[in-house]
């Protein structure tokens, strides 16, 4: 199947680029790590007030799931830049004049995004572990967290890829990405317990897909295999992914033809 082998080669290309530009990994990990190490320190006393955090849960443990999501946002946004770079440099055209499978161009990019986000997630979970927060559900739980974050990352790559192909501007992708990302993160259960937030934020949070994805990772870290939280999260992420990846596909068709 040329689709599979072509996807593989596109995937390898992006991974090579990533490994050879470690500074990019560093920058996209910098912010989540800053949050993990410093921000959580600012709020450690939150646990002293009863009724805010679940009993027996420290703020670090609580916030890790949210920080994982922040990390997924960051790397997903770079995805759109990569497609802009390939269009600008003519590399996309160079691929298009070969008989290679067209969908492989996108699939290779998306799988490399997913792979990257998993690696970053592993780094953050490792660091969280060193700081004293671990995943109660063990290896299977970690794998499920990987899956959830990668899935979420793909849904978000869809936005940046579609934007990148539409606007052909890396700056725009970053600007719009930044504008979307932070409100979504703050207006969700990512960094604070939902009951701690004002009513209107609680309402917004219920419609915010980020909350669902965070909750799924959080229960896997803290509580256990709570499928009643995990499955709906996958459903919501799937819904977002369908929308964003359709937009990506639509823009890709326009670029390709």
């Amino acid at each position: 199947m040329t689709l599979l082998s072509d996807t593989r080669y596109v995937f390898i290309r992006y991974i090579r680029k990533l490994v050879r530009t470690p500074i990019l990994l560093f920058f996209s990990l910098f912010q989540p790590i800053l949050f993990l190490v410093l921000f959580t320190q600012l709020l450690t006393r939150l646990g002293n007030f009863p009724g805010i955090l679940p009993p027996g849960v420290g703020y670090l443990e609580f916030a890790t799931a949210g920080i994982l999501m922040q990390n997924a946002f960051g790397s997903a946004l770079q995805s759109g830049n990569s497609i802009v770079a390939d269009i600008d440099s003519g590399f996309l055209q160079k691929m298009l004049v070969t008989p290679m499978s067209r969908p492989a161009i996108l699939l290779g990019r998306l799988t490399s995004d997913a792979f990257r986000v998993v690696i970053q997630t592993a780094i953050i979970l490792g660091l969280a572990y060193a700081l004293g927060a671990f995943v109660t559900t063990g290896v299977i739980g970690i794998l499920l967290i990987f899956f959830t974050i990668a899935f979420f990352g793909l849904a978000w790559s869809g936005i940046s890829l579609a934007l990148g192909m539409k606007t052909r501007s890396a700056e725009t992708v970053f600007a719009i990405g930044g504008v979307i990302t932070f409100p979504l993160l703050f207006l969700s259960s990512a960094l604070f317990p939902i009951s701690f937030l004002p009513d209107w934020v609680q309402t917004v949070s219920k419609f915010n897909p980020v909350s669902y994805a965070v909750d799924a990772c959080r229960v896997l870290m803290i509580n256990g295999f709570d499928w009643g939280t995990i499955l709906p999260a996958w459903g919501v992420i799937g819904l977002v992914a369908i929308i964003t990846l359709s937009a990506t596909l639509y823009q890709f068709r326009k670029v390709v033809s």
């Binding site: 040329t2 082998s5 072509d6 080669y9 290309r13 090579r16 680029k17 990533l18 050879r20 530009t21 990019l24 770079q78 830049n81 990569s82 802009v84 770079a85 600008d88 440099s89 003519g90 590399f91 055209q93 160079k94 691929m95 298009l96 004049v97 070969t98 008989p99 290679m100 501007s169 890396a170 700056e171 033809s257």
Partner: protein, 332 residues
């Protein structure tokens, strides 16, 4: 020889109404080194994009090696190699990896790729830089690498869109010699576009001159120049203003002079056998006491041909700026 490219009444109208290609027809036979010579915006790149399946034509027919460009695009992509105007090598990959990747996209098997990559590295003289990242290559090396990536699958036809634009003269002549070698030794048909007169003259066995979307003349460089029918003699006088009219009169009285025009240096004389005429001109001016500064003789150039058909000269900026990069430098 049989025709490998046949284009009939090709038209490309952009969505904003610009007619980029305006009803052109031409043929290229197998093994030929064919070129499009024209200034920026003449429609050269647009034509290449259509022929290489990247852009849909508005109307007309395009047949590449027996395949219809729209109905059988997939078959065409297997047998063509394309080097676009931008140098498209991946700076994060090494020279070898760049070529290998293209081999994979052409569904070649591993051993076959390895062997061919080594051949190509030798062909374009990049063996010693093969394991270095292309980011660190000079402009000329990148172009050569780009050329190698386009040749990985031994294409039947190689499309080159301004392959030496922006290169220094040395790198340019290196590319020229690789291209001649590829055409001769591998028998690959080459379709090249260029805005450089010298490039078209040196490489193309046959060429079409294109301007504002139309082909204005076709033939071998020699045929096209013969069409002009006259050499030119550029005369510079010590005191141009004072002696010009008298000099004109004297030269006009000589036999075989076609035309005398005012020009930058002072006068330009067009004549059939200018070589023989020079002595007469020098003698005539000397006898009348008109002091000469210099006399230059030249055979017609493709620029004269372009001038004859379009009424203007191809003005190429010899120092072409590198395409400007986007703000922010490296992107990923």
């Amino acid at each position: 020889m049989s025709d490998i490219i046949t284009v009939k009444n090709l038209v490309e109208v952009y969505s904003d109404g610009t007619k980029a290609v305006d009803d052109i027809s031409f043929k290229v036979s197998e093994g030929e080194f064919f070129g499009f010579l024209g200034p920026n915006g003449a429609g050269k790149s647009t034509t290449i994009k259509i022929l290489t399946t990247l852009l849909r034509k508005t109307s007309g027919t395009v047949n590449i090696a027996g395949y219809d460009v729209e109905k059988q695009a997939a078959a065409i992509r297997k047998i063509i190699g394309v080097q676009s105007q931008e140098t498209t090598v991946d700076g994060d990959l090494t020279g070898r990896e760049n070529i290998t990747l293209q081999g994979h996209f052409h569904q070649m098997n591993g051993d076959e790729i390895k062997k061919r990559v080594n051949e190509l590295l030798v062909l374009v003289g990049l063996e010693s830089a093969a394991e270095k990242r292309a980011r660190n290559f000079s402009g000329g090396m990148k172009k050569r690498l780009d050329l190698a990536t386009a040749l990985i699958h031994k294409p039947k036809i190689l499309f080159l869109d301004e392959p030496t634009t922006g290169l220094d003269p040395q790198s340019r002549s290196a590319i020229w010699s690789y291209l001649e070698k590829i055409n001769k030794e591998e028998g690959i048909t080459i379709f090249l576009t260029t805005q450089y007169l010298e490039e078209a003259d040196k490489l193309c066995k046959r060429l079409s001159i294109i301007d504002v979307g139309k082909i204005v003349a076709s033939g071998s460089p020699k045929e096209l120049k013969q069409e002009i029918g006259a050499d030119s003699i550029r005369i510079s006088l010590a005191n141009c203003e004072k002696d010009k009219e008298k000099a004109k009169e004297l030269i006009r009285s000589l036999t075989d002079v076609n035309q005398i025009l005012d020009s930058e240096e002072c006068l330009t004389v067009y004549a059939k056998n200018a070589g023989l005429l020079i002595a007469d001109i020098v003698r005539a001016l000397d006898i009348s006491g008109i002091q000469l500064e210099s006399v230059t003789f030249s055979s017609p150039s493709l620029d004269d041909v372009f001038m004859k058909h379009t009424g203007k000269r191809i003005r190429t900026e010899e120092l072409v700026k590198a395409p400007s990069r986007m703000f922010g430098g490296r992107r990923f």
